[in-house]
């Protein structure tokens, strides 16, 4: 039973009782943490809006014997205003939060995932950035972090290099791109393949600074399918976000 400090990003919250909330956060040093914010739904709460999803906060938490920690103090590091005030950016941020909530393990620190989420939200919050590719690029990078990046250099089924007829399809069960003779799953255009290679090949920063190319939508669908296949579940926020 002790107090501990950490910084974290609020992934989601659940109502608890009359005025409390359970806040699920990805913290830097303690992995995914579930903590009770007492009285946070009252207008007089000392926490105010600090524990809303998407907030990057510095925390003082109390760990007791139970499963849930208790939020003691919170200070805001970044609220990501630009994302909150733009429905399109917000729905893309939600899908990243959902992926992280699914992947991160309770009390299991994953500082690389934490830094990736923070950077992705930072980019999404820049007014100059184009929001379309941020979430798909984040999904691909997360897959790479998990050791499940799609194979894009050679045919994932037969291992033949691209030169012999090109890679024309994408199937996650096979592990990535497929050549003409092994093709199954969905078809994939050459620009989409090239863009995914750039994202995973160290050119992410440059890709996000350029205007989104016509194949961005296709890469978005491919990356979403890839992460859904890895998580073995559909992403609710992507389906709902598309309706917004």
């Amino acid at each position: 039973m002790s107090l501990f400090r950490d910084t974290g990003i609020v992934l989601r919250t659940y109502r608890l009782g009359e005025a409390d909330r359970i806040v699920v956060m990805l913290t830097e040093a303690h992995g995914k943490v579930r903590a009770v914010a007492k009285g946070v739904r009252r207008t007089s709460s000392k926490f105010g809006a600090r524990l809303e999803p998407l907030s990057h906060v510095a925390l003082l938490l109390w760990r007791g014997r139970g499963e849930l920690d208790i939020v003691n103090q919170v200070e805001v590091v970044d609220q990501f205003w630009t994302i909150r005030e733009d429905l399109e950016r917000l729905s893309r941020a939600f899908s990243m939060l959902e992926v992280v909530d699914q992947l991160a393990q309770d009390q299991h620190p994953d500082p690389r995932l934490y830094r990736m989420l923070l950077r992705a939200l930072g980019v999404l919050a820049e007014r100059s950035s184009n929001p379309i590719l941020v979430a798909p690029a984040f999904f691909l990078k997360v897959l790479a972090l998990e050791g499940a990046a799609p194979i894009l250099d050679v045919c994932a089924a037969c291992g033949r290099p691209e030169a012999e007829g090109g890679l024309v399809a994408f199937d996650l069960h096979e592990g990535g791109a497929l050549c003409r003779s092994c093709r199954r799953g969905r078809s994939m255009s050459a620009p989409a393949l090239a863009l995914m290679r750039r994202i995973l090949g160290g050119e992410l920063g440059r890709v996000l600074r350029e205007p989104a190319p016509p194949c961005a939508e296709e890469v978005g669908q491919l990356a979403t399918e890839a992460i859904e296949s890895h998580l073995d579940r559909r992403l609710r926020s992507v389906r709902t976000g598309a309706a917004l």
């Binding site: 989601r12 009782g17 009359e18 207008t43 007089s44 000392k46 926490f47 105010g48 809006a49 600090r50 809303e52 999803p53 998407l54 805001v76 609220q79 205003w81 909150r84 005030e85 733009d86 429905l87 917000l90 729905s91 939600f94 899908s95 939060l97 959902e98 909530d101 609710r236 926020s237 389906r239 709902t240 976000g241 309706a243 917004l244």
Partner: protein, 198 residues
């Protein structure tokens, strides 16, 4: 230990929000002790509310079956102003201010992508039809000032934008009686943005 009927009562009471097994047992024994007519009045009230309460066909507030709610059927209320809320309980909160003389529209929730709640799960189309068909001058977006409520307000503002109606959002700011020192950055930031001349 208990009779079957008492056991059933304790079990049912234990399903109520905030009532644990111990409280359920205490309430059950209280009901056993009070005069029959008092207990029957409670039972009848529960039956009546379940049989006779539905949602108002215009604003989706709670109402008697097949009737408009009290507010929609009140001719003194201004039907040209609609206050959009998430839940029927929010109507009670706004009514307590005694500052609003218009009508309401209850969405029955807020957009929540993480829970898979999208526009089609809410009473949004009905709101749009109301704005188009009735002569509505202003829609006040009075959803909760949290991420889901804000997203809902942004979505509605975009949807209602092309229609010939004023769309406003309730202000966010500091609670009266509070201390500036303890205000969070988001609330204080909003309060500064929404400052007005005095």
């Amino acid at each position: 230990m208990y009779t079957a009927s008492l056991r059933a009562l304790v079990d049912e009471l234990g399903k109520l929000p905030g009532v644990g097994p111990k409280s359920a047992q205490r309430i059950a024994f209280y009901l056993l002790r009070i005069p029959s007519e008092d207990a029957l009045r409670l039972a009848e009230a529960i039956i009546a509310v379940k049989e006779r309460t539905a949602f108002c066909p215009r604003c989706f507030n709670v109402a008697e079956v097949d009737e408009l709610c009290e507010i929609c059927s009140d001719p003194s209320r201004d039907a040209g102003t609609i206050c959009v809320v998430e839940d029927p309980r929010d109507i009670a909160a706004v009514e307590r201010t005694r500052r609003f003389g218009g009508t309401y529209h209850v969405l029955h929730g807020a957009l929540n992508p993480l829970e898979g709640v999208g526009p089609e799960q809410l009473r949004i189309q009905e709101l749009v039809s109301r704005v188009k068909e009735d002569s509505v001058r202003e829609v006040i977006l009075c959803t909760n000032p949290n991420l889901e409520g804000e997203a809902t307000a942004m979505y509605l503002a975009r949807l209602l934008g092309p229609l010939d109606v004023r769309v406003s959002r309730i202000a966010s700011g500091l609670p009266v009686g509070g201390d500036l020192e303890y205000a969070d950055e988001l609330t204080l930031g909003r309060a500064l943005e929404g400052r007005h001349d005095v």
